[in-house]
């Protein structure tokens, strides 16, 4: 009797580990959009981690050794590509488990023009500024990145192909709906010239036909007089009526911009966690703010 009980308990344990534990794929990502995509596609078959602190820009984050060791133990490490998260060049990660999600469109990366180069020693001129990296703000590219993630998950767990494909189709539909919505919104816009508080909207501008000039303003800091003067000079050659912020700006900044005839809107890139809201919801809201 005791033996039967033990055998039954052991069988139950094996079943539970197969269903809930051992089969789960450990996935680490370098930003929140990739985490969201992997969670949507992988659902219960993946455990996705993105260990960057919530108050940090993941593009310029440098994880400590303990966090890197966690990345090393993952089954898959999803990279954004396009030189995003430069810390990858400074750490040891298992190459065979890295997935560059934007590799499929790398010929279409946007690179920094007019970057200052330097030279020293016997080397030729070189620059440390490279590629624009907020690739997911072009939602057709975001869908391609999601496709690469789906393929990587299928390769790692072929048994769940049907589930991954179904989940990917739903995610792709959501992304492409936003893509079409943005296209129609921009088509309806009478003025396509915009300012951006940071140079992160290059792919958005290219995909949807916006003409964006960027400054380097922090939403939670009041710009200096020098920065206001620079904007004033920019206004003469680029008379935009809207500034896109990556986060809610200070009221004082909104008021002073309004006085210059520039309205403020927020278009969150969501590189890090979006205050508890999911990626698609924030992007839908972003799309609606464009007028």
């Amino acid at each position: 009797m005791e033996l039967r009980k033990t055998a039954w308990a052991f069988s139950l344990f094996l079943y539970c580990t197969a269903v809930f534990g051992l089969d789960t794929l450990s996935v680490y990502t370098v930003n929140y959009p990739l985490k969201y995509f992997a969670e949507r596609i992988g659902a219960e078959h993946v455990e996705v981690s993105f260990p960057a602190p919530a108050d940090i820009d993941p593009a310029f984050w440098l994880p400590d050794a303990e966090t890197i060791i966690q990345y090393q133990q993952a089954d898959l490490i999803l990279l954004n590509g396009a030189d995003y998260a430069r810390w990858i060049d400074k750490v040891s990660l298992p190459r065979l488990r890295l997935v560059n999600t934007s590799r499929v469109f790398q010929e279409h990366y946007l690179t920094v023009a007019n970057a200052t180069t330097h030279s020293h020693g016997l080397e030729g001129e070189h620059s440390h500024v490279g590629t624009f990296f907020t690739t997911w703000l072009d939602f057709s590219q975001a869908a391609q990145q999601a496709r690469v993630i789906a393929d990587a998950l299928v390769r790692a767990r072929p048994a769940h192909r049907a589930s991954f494909e179904k989940n990917y189709a739903a995610l792709e539909k959501g992304l492409l709906t936003i893509d079409r919505r943005l296209q129609s919104k921009v088509e309806a816009m009478s003025e396509r010239r915009l300012f951006a508080s940071h140079p992160i909207y290059q792919y958005l501008a290219r995909r949807y036909g916006l003409d964006i000039k960027s400054v380097l303003w922090e939403p939670d800091e009041l710009p200096s007089e020098e920065q206001w003067a620079l904007l004033g000079r920019m206004l003469s050659s680029h008379p935009a009526a809207t500034m896109i912020w990556e986060g809610p700006p200070l009221q004082a900044s909104i008021d002073r911009l309004r006085a210059l005839g520039v309205e403020s809107i927020v278009f969150e890139p969501c590189a890090n966690a979006c205050n508890g809201q999911d990626f698609l919801s924030v992007m839908r809201r972003n799309a609606e703010t464009l007028n």
Partner: protein
């Protein structure tokens, strides 16, 4: 019998020089072929076990032996370098997993092996002390390296210049030891492992210096224009990567053009391996894909051919030694005529004389056999290290 043994023993201990010479000759003749066989068996075992666990190696066209020896045993002879594009080509083929290896530099006489994190998984290497590689400029030591250099996690190790005349060359990199591997009884015990990118920093392809656009010391700037800043030799490049200057380290150019000495290729299955090998047979490719086992088998076949010659030489020398020993005994019988005559006069039979001489020979042979056995045990004990020092590295 005891009396015979006693008299024979007294004789051999009295004639020390003659006995020692005879024992040495017999021991050498016995131990030489046995030790040689042990060495060869151990060499074959070491060479083959490593080669068998490495399915394919991709490298530049040229000596396949140099490529195999450098990739598998981190031999000093560095094959012609290839670029990381080769590893990327393998990834794109979707037929195999590539593991780049860059075994070119040294630190205090031990090879620095730049590779990807996957190498440790493929070779089954485990960390005994400390942790695995995490940041640029860190190194993990093989067990023997740590033991011989007396290093442990937290210590540092400086890379050696490629030549003593490399005065104006690359700065040596001070690497931080973060871990020591468990003993694997392979070439990995004798290597200093770094991330591939750290190896490129050692080569000077990646480096760290203050941002020239915001240089605090204007005297480091030779010329400045709107688009370019030129620094002079005063610009200090960091020789150690620390958490505070890690951000200033950077690489220039296309990473796919960076060099590696070889790529270990792990095919997904036998068919994939065969297809890949076929692709690199053509003349128009600058790469070669070798099967290390075939290369090492060829090397061993040559070694065993040489061994046959050595066996013949040892046989002839052995025969000459036996003849010489026979001559020594014959001559000693002549020298001992008076002694033998005295023994006869004492009433001993001819048989007693034969037993006495036989026992003397037996004592010499047994002593030689004991010595020979002891030497074989010693050689066997050290054969692993001796093979590594004498034959492999």
């Amino acid at each position: 019998m005891i009396e015979t043994l006693y008299v024979a023993w007294r004789y051999v201990t009295y004639n020390k020089i003659k006995t020692v010479t005879l024992v040495a000759c017999v021991t050498l003749i016995g131990v030489l072929p046995l030790a040689l066989q042990l060495f060869l068996n151990e060499s074959a075992r070491q060479l083959l076990s490593r080669a068998e666990s490495t399915p394919l190696v991709m490298g530049a066209k040229g000596s396949s032996l140099d490529l195999a020896m450098n990739t598998l045993y981190f031999d000093d002879e560095v094959p012609e370098l290839i670029s990381m594009a080769a590893a990327e080509e393998i990834t794109q083929s979707d037929l195999a997993a590539p593991i780049p290896v860059y075994a070119r530099f040294q630190a205090r006489g031990f090879p620095i092996v730049g590779t990807s994190f996957d190498y440790f998984d493929v070779r089954g290497l485990e960390i005994e002390q400390g942790r695995s590689l995490a940041l640029l400029g860190e190194c993990v030591l093989g067990a023997t390296v740590a033991e011989r250099l007396g290093l442990k996690p937290g210590d540092s190790l400086v890379s050696s210049p490629e030549t003593v005349f490399d005065i104006a060359g690359i700065y040596p990199l001070k690497m931080k030891v973060v871990g020591v591997l468990q003993r694997a009884y392979t070439s990995d015990d004798l290597a200093v492992f770094v991330d591939l990118k750290s190896a490129w920093v050692i080569q000077g392809l990646g480096h760290g210096h203050e941002d020239l656009a915001r240089a605090k010391d204007p005297s480091v700037i030779l010329d400045r224009s709107d688009r370019n800043v030129i620094a002079n030799a005063k610009l200090v490049q960091y020789t150690e990567i620390t958490e505070s200057n890690l951000d200033d380290f950077h690489f220039h150019g296309d990473p796919e053009a960076y060099p590696v000495s070889a790529v270990i290729v792990i095919p997904h299955d036998v068919k994939s391996g065969t297809i890949l090998r076929g692709r690199y047979v053509e003349q128009d490719t600058s790469y070669q894909m070798i099967t290390p086992k075939e290369v090492i088998d060829g090397l061993l076949a040559n070694i065993f051919r040489i061994k046959n010659v050595l066996d013949a030489v040892i046989f002839i020398v052995g025969l000459a030694t036996v003849l010489a020993i026979t001559l020594v005994f014959t001559l000693s019988l002549r020298l001992r005529q008076r002694e033998i005559h005295t023994i006869f006069k004492l009433g001993c039979s001819r048989l007693t004389m034969v037993r006495l001489l036989g026992t003397e020979i037996l004592i010499i042979l047994l002593t030689s056999a004991a010595l020979c056995g002891a030497l074989v045990v010693v050689v066997n004990y050290y054969s692993h290290d001796l093979v590594r020092v004498l034959f492999i590295r």
